[in-house]
Amino acid sequence: MSVDKPTVAKIASLARIEMDDAALERMVPELNNILGWIEQLGEVDTSAVEPMTAVIPNTLRLREDEVNADPKTGGDRREDILANAPVAEHGFFGVPKVIE
């Protein structure tokens, strides 16, 4: 399967990466080169195989339903969470106006 420029533009838009025409032009052959190589996976008969879901068998754990059981992942960390925000106002992340 190969991609053309409108397809790459669509993928870039889905991925929220702005790309101008020149960048799209450059990316088309690069992606096709990689996708062409990946095609060989189609040769493998996987009709009797389940897709892998966990590389090492493990069970998902539930933590105790307790507030602030672990201070690192618990609550009351607003200042820490906002410390790296490009814009933080009134204890919130600031974003440009959204009008839909």
Binding site: V3, D70, I99
Partner: protein, 498 residues
């Protein structure tokens, strides 16, 4: 013999430093000062994004004080290390070598780095890497290429230090760090270790916590040690590993004392030689090192057996679906809202801000992988690409499960070639991906694997051998690594030019 001057101190490894500090041959501060100076003098390698000499001194003083007051010293006490800049370090910029995280200062410490500090290690600085750990030559960093300390005999030309843990490999090989952390998603510890003549261990998936490690491909990412001896890696891995409730895939298993149990007597062990790893176009010197590896392991008492891993050929293309798919999801978090760069063009709305920020903040290779990942996960292609790749991954893992009926460990080359020149492969992403053709199968199967130095090639550049083991059997892997280390007698080091 007691080393005295800084040049002698920086030749020491993890165990030698720890034991020397404990017995009073030198102080932790003397060690930290010697390595801080070595880091400062090695700026031309560009191995560090940020040096933190004050952190190294602070940790050293704490160790010296603890010793003076008769307290127990940790298993890494007095050892200053380099920290790959993928590990979040509280109060110290953490960038993943990207522009989008430039200036990001974590408010918490990654589990692995915290465990190392708790064991008495200190931090020399944050090491350069390929951007978001995507690359095999440390040429995708926003902060510039890392240069290997190694050069061809009689030449002044630069070589790459491998990647993604290129700052780690360069600094350990150059003796500006006795050891460093690495992370390995598809070879990023083993390949740079091989390129620079050092030891690198990727443990079983889940041994080391991923909490606080900037995510690339979560089902593959695994931290591990990089140092100049098998024993040093075994000591450091123990300090890094262990169950962490904050990582949902962390292994809830006891952490063995691998270093104390190291044993190069391989009598009764079988070493598998996978025939599919003998690929067309592999460098004859690489094949020669493989032959020597077999001899060394046979000499250590092991039986060498031919084995087959039939889906080897498909591991790399499967990896280049799975890893970008996971990366495109993981890197969705960089949106210019919560941390990192924000690019807000005049009059732009929220969606425009996302797209502008990500366009400005990500490098070309990162964008390429996000686009591939987005494509293979998109409606209509998910089954053909992503699902098929996960099925092939299951087959690759099954190959290994079956082979463990025939052998205890696998011996293979780490890389298809020695280190190459900067720029030699950066225009051709596919050629670059092929660097990890021997490393990726163990990553897909979550297995412990390591690279250990074997020899210098005809140009005077290091070649590494790879050992892959059963799940949780880091001991078996490192024992075989030790047997090679003892017989290879690899004492070469790069001649100082920096």
């Amino acid at each position: 013999m007691m080393p005295k001057n800084a040049d002698e101190l920086t030749q020491l490894g993890v165990r030698e430093i720890r034991d020397g500090v404990a017995s009073g041959d030198f102080t932790a501060r003397e060690i930290a000062e010697a390595f801080n100076a070595a880091v400062e003098q090695a700026a031309s390698l560009n191995a560090f994004i940020v040096a933190t000499p004050e952190k190294a001194l602070e940790a050293a003083d704490a160790v010296d004080d603890a010793r003076a007051s008769g307290k127990d010293l940790g298993p890494m006490a007095g050892v200053p290390i380099g920290m790959k800049d993928l590990f979040c370090t509280k109060g110290v910029q953490t960038t993943a070598a990207s522009h989008i995280l430039e200036g990001f200062v974590p408010q918490y410490e990654s589990t692995v780095s915290q465990k190392l500090w708790d064991a008495g290690a200190g931090m020399l600085g944050k090491l350069n890497l390929d951007q978001f750990a995507m690359g095999s030559s440390n040429e995708t960093s926003y902060f510039g290429n890392v240069t290997s300390p190694w050069r061809k005999t009689g030449s002044n030309a630069d070589f790459v230090a491998g990647g993604s843990s290129g700052g780690s490999s360069a600094s350990v090989a150059a003796r500006i760090c006795p050891a460093a952390t690495g992370t390995d998603t598809g070879g990023s510890i083993r390949q740079p270790a091989a390129f620079t003549g050092i030891v690198g261990v990727k443990p079983t998936y889940g041994r080391c916590s991923r909490c606080g490690v900037v995510a690339f491909a979560s089902s593959l990412d695994q931290a591990g040690p990089m140092a100049r001896s098998v024993e040093d890696c075994a000591i450091m891995l123990r300090a890094m590993a262990g169950f962490d409730p904050k990582d949902s895939t962390s292994l809830d298993l006891p952490v063995p004392d691998w270093a104390s149990a190291l044993d190069a007597d391989l009598r009764g062990k079988k070493v598998g030689i996978p025939r599919e790893y003998r690929m067309d176009g592999t460098d004859p010197e690489i094949l020669d090192s493989w032959e020597r590896g077999k001899e060394w392991l046979r000499d250590a008492g092991a039986e060498i057996v031919d084995v087959s891993l039939p889906h080897t050929k498909y591991a790399l293309p499967a990896y280049y679906i799975i890893a970008p798919a996971e990366a495109s999801s993981n890197l969705a978090r960089y949106d210019g809202v919560r941390y990192g760069l924000r690019d807000l063009p005049e009059g732009a709305g929220l969606q425009d801000m996302y797209a502008a920020t990500r366009s400005e903040g990500f490098g070309d290779e990162v964008k390429r992988r996000i686009l591939i990942g987005t494509y293979v996960l998109s409606a209509g292609f998910y089954d053909a690409y992503y699902n098929q790749a996960q099925k092939v991954r299951a087959l690759v893992a099954r190959d290994f499960e079956q082979v463990w009926n025939e052998c205890d460990v696998i011996l293979a080359p780490t890389t298809p070639t020695a280190a190459f020149s900067p720029g030699a492969q950066s225009d051709n992403p596919l050629a670059m991906y092929l660097n990890d053709v021997f490393a990726v199968p163990a990553s897909l199967a979550g297995l412990p694997a390591m690279s250990v130095p074997a020899m210098l090639n005809g140009d005077g550049l290091p070649l590494g051998l790879q050992i892959v083991g059963k799940p949780f059997d880091e001991q078996g892997v490192m024992n075989a690594g030790l047997a090679i280390e003892q017989r290879a007698g690899f004492t070469a080091k790069p001649e100082r030019w920096w």
